[in-house]
């Protein structure tokens, strides 16, 4: 019935079939077009409609935290202000209002900037929330706020040399790129500046630094610097097995939060110098232990060997002691009472090769491998030719200049059983590998006994360090400073230093400290030797920081 009807229609209207087919094709084409578009849309990665949090890549910088997770440096969001003068009508009024909020701005200059036809200028790089509110309350058009990240150091000047500081590298209306200039900020720039998505968990760089210990160290250092009238000072506390630096202080220091302002004016540049890492000084008697270590290592002598300690001359130079020694003294006595003559004799016995070898093993001839750039550019000043006089003087710390960190590293190797160690500012895993053996265990044990004798012996130069709480061992050093105007040394200006190891029951930490031009005026006669300037400071430092580093006092075992 239906088919006969269709035939009837097609015969009556012959073009109907064609039209229907064409219409069908048209619909099919449209359908295909739409479906291809759908497939295309679905497969294409949509760049335009990315999520808010995905697109907003804050050019942030990682936090720097200490070994316990205390924040040392963090990024905060601030606000910068810029102006579009053409949108401002009452220019004189606005410049008056702005002057009220920012008293440091010059009204005439501001008015000039508003009127000279420019389209845009920066008013302030970073404003406080209070100033931001005041600006907002003006309700003036043409004043705009831009997001601005800035670096904040919650502890101000604490560990400022180690952490370093930053500058703003490039900035835009909504953007500021911060990069490090010194300290950790510079050394770990790449890791700190990794572009991370804000939704990721807060990553931070863990330093080996211990904030409470650092705070106590700086406090004691500043107090003693003042007491001793010293120009400057530095302290390093380091783990002798892992090389982790727990405290590194240099005084005078600076407040990195105020850096932005000071740097431009170039004032107090002296404060930015990291004395513990960058400052190379002739260290004096703290070097005496090295030639002894080499002698013990090569079985040239032992601690009881008698050495001639009468004064003598090398070419025209007289080698003498400040105290009177017997004509012959044991190696132990030479170290305990700090004899220059004995030390020079030992160095001559060891010879150039031996002395260079021990200096090289202990890392005294090259920069320390600490991550800081300040450390890697600090080359020790080493004598060019090693004549007999040079051997003699370097054995008691003259003619060779190293940093405090060099000394700490050298003593760490002597004290940790003879393993190589490289100072680091990064926190290490507990099971991290120790270095390779560079000295015999026996040498290290003997050296530790000698260092303890300096403290426990009645005539030892560090006898006032004897503590009922901790077993400490260490060597004092006092070096006259080289005169700038004329040849030779200044008698009244010295670098006093001390390097010690504690607790000796199970040596764990090395502490190195120095004071620049100290003078103890609390005694009958003014005293500049390390034994009366730095050593009392070390005593205080160890008693204050020992409990913080979980060292349990062992007064029952201590000898007095």
């Amino acid at each position: 019935m239906i088919s006969s009807n269709k035939k009837k229609i097609f015969t009556e209207y012959p073009r109907t079939r064609t039209r229907l087919v064409l219409f069908g094709l048209f619909v099919l084409l449209g359908f295909l077009l739409i479906s291809t578009k759908i497939v295309f849309l679905a497969s294409k990665k949509d760049q335009k409609h990315k999520r808010y949090s995905e697109t907003e890549k804050v050019p942030t910088r990682l936090n720097i935290v200490d070994r316990n997770g205390y924040i040392l440096a963090t990024n905060l969001e601030g606000v910068s202000v810029y102006v579009r003068p053409e949108e401002i009508k009452q220019k004189a009024l606005v410049s008056q209002q702005l002057k009220k909020i920012f008293p440091d701005l010059k009204e005439t200059l501001l008015l000039k900037k508003l009127n000279d036809g420019r389209k845009f200028f920066w008013l302030k790089n970073l404003v406080s929330p209070k100033q931001e509110k005041a600006l907002f309350d003006l309700g003036q058009p043409g004043i705009y706020f831009g997001k601005r990240e800035y670096r904040f150091y919650p502890h101000g000047s604490l560990a400022s040399h180690l952490i370093g500081f930053t500058k703003v590298d490039a900035f835009d209306v909504n953007y500021a790129k911060i990069s490090g200039i010194s300290g950790v900020e510079k050394a770990l720039e790449k890791r700190l500046a990794e572009e991370i998505l804000p939704q990721l968990e807060n990553n931070a760089i863990n330093l080996s630094l211990d904030l409470p210990v650092q705070a106590e160290v700086e406090n004691v250092l500043k107090e003693w610097q003042k007491r001793m009238g010293a120009k400057a000072g530095g302290v390093v506390i380091m783990d002798i097995h892992t090389g982790e630096v727990l405290a590194l202080a240099s005084s005078p220091d600076f407040n990195a939060n105020k850096e932005r302002i000071i740097l431009g004016k170039k004032t107090e540049t002296n404060n930015y110098f990291n004395r513990a890492v960058q400052g190379v000084y002739e260290m004096g008697s703290t070097f005496k232990i090295f030639s002894v270590a080499q002698g013990l290592e090569t079985n040239l002598f032992d601690v009881e060997t008698l050495i001639d300690t009468t004064e003598f001359r090398i070419s025209s130079r007289k080698i003498e002691d400040k105290y009177k020694f017997n004509s012959k003294s044991t190696v132990r006595e030479i170290i305990v009472r700090s004899s220059n003559v004995g030390s020079a004799r030992l160095a001559l016995m060891i010879g150039e090769k031996g002395l260079k070898e021990i200096f090289s093993i202990l890392g005294l001839l090259e920069p320390v491998g600490l991550e800081l750039r300040e450390a890697s550019i600090t080359q020790p000043i080493v004598p060019r030719d090693w004549r007999d006089i040079t051997l003699a003087t370097t054995s008691y710390g003259y003619g060779i200049s190293v940093s405090l960190l060099h000394l700490a590293k050298a003593y760490a190797i002597l004290g940790n059983g003879g393993f190589s160690v490289e100072p680091t500012i990064l926190k290490k895993q507990q099971d991290s590998q120790t270095g390779f053996r560079v000295l015999k265990k026996r040498t290290s044990d003997e050296i530790l006994k000698l260092l303890e004798a300096i403290v426990t012996d009645k005539r030892g130069t560090a006898r006032i360090l004897a503590s009922k709480h901790y077993r400490i061992g260490g060597k004092t050093g006092t070096a006259e400073k080289i005169s700038v105007d004329k040849r030779g040394y200044q008698k009244d200006k010295v670098i006093s230093n001390f390097v010690g190891l504690f607790p000796l029951t199970k040596p764990k930490y090395v502490i190195a400290a120095f004071l620049d031009e100290p003078e103890n005026n609390f005694l009958k006669e003014p005293c500049r030797y390390a034994s009366c300037t730095v050593v009392p400071m070390i005593k205080k430092l160890i008693e204050r920081t020992g409990p913080l580093m979980d060292i349990i006092p062992e007064r029952h075992n201590a000898k007095f």
Partner: protein, 117 residues
């Protein structure tokens, strides 16, 4: 008849599917809106946390605490930690009567800590 039934089923299922797709579409849009606003909230919470952490660090600044301890010395009587503060177990003075005083005033009582065994 069969054809009509088939036609009716097709029609109903088309409408059904259409309305289902419509519903899902709107739900997913709403969900993505919600995700967006939640992400915004998370981001601002994280920023806030960062500020609070910085503030906490600032408040715990050892120099600041030292000044506070000095200022409130009469009330707090806090002194720097000293090796003398460590004593051995044998030196701890244990008073048996301490058991009779209310535990709240002692913090954790000694018996709980196992010190008197």
């Amino acid at each position: 008849m069969v054809k009509f039934l088939l036609f009716a089923i097709l029609l109903i299922s088309t409408f059904g599917l259409g309305s289902w797709a419509y519903k899902i579409n709107y739900e997913s849009r709403a969900a993505s809106q919600r995700v967006k606003s939640l992400e915004k909230a998370i981001l601002s919470a994280k920023k806030e946390r960062k500020i609070l952490e910085a503030e906490w660090a600032h408040l715990n600044n050892p120099d600041r605490l030292r000044k506070l301890v000095e200022y409130y010395f009469r009330e707090l009587r806090l002194t720097p930690i000293n090796p003398d503060n460590f004593i051995s177990f044998s030196e701890i003075y244990l008073n048996k009567d301490i058991e009779k005083t209310p535990a709240a005033s002692l913090g954790t009582s000694f018996s709980e800590m196992g010190y008197d065994k």
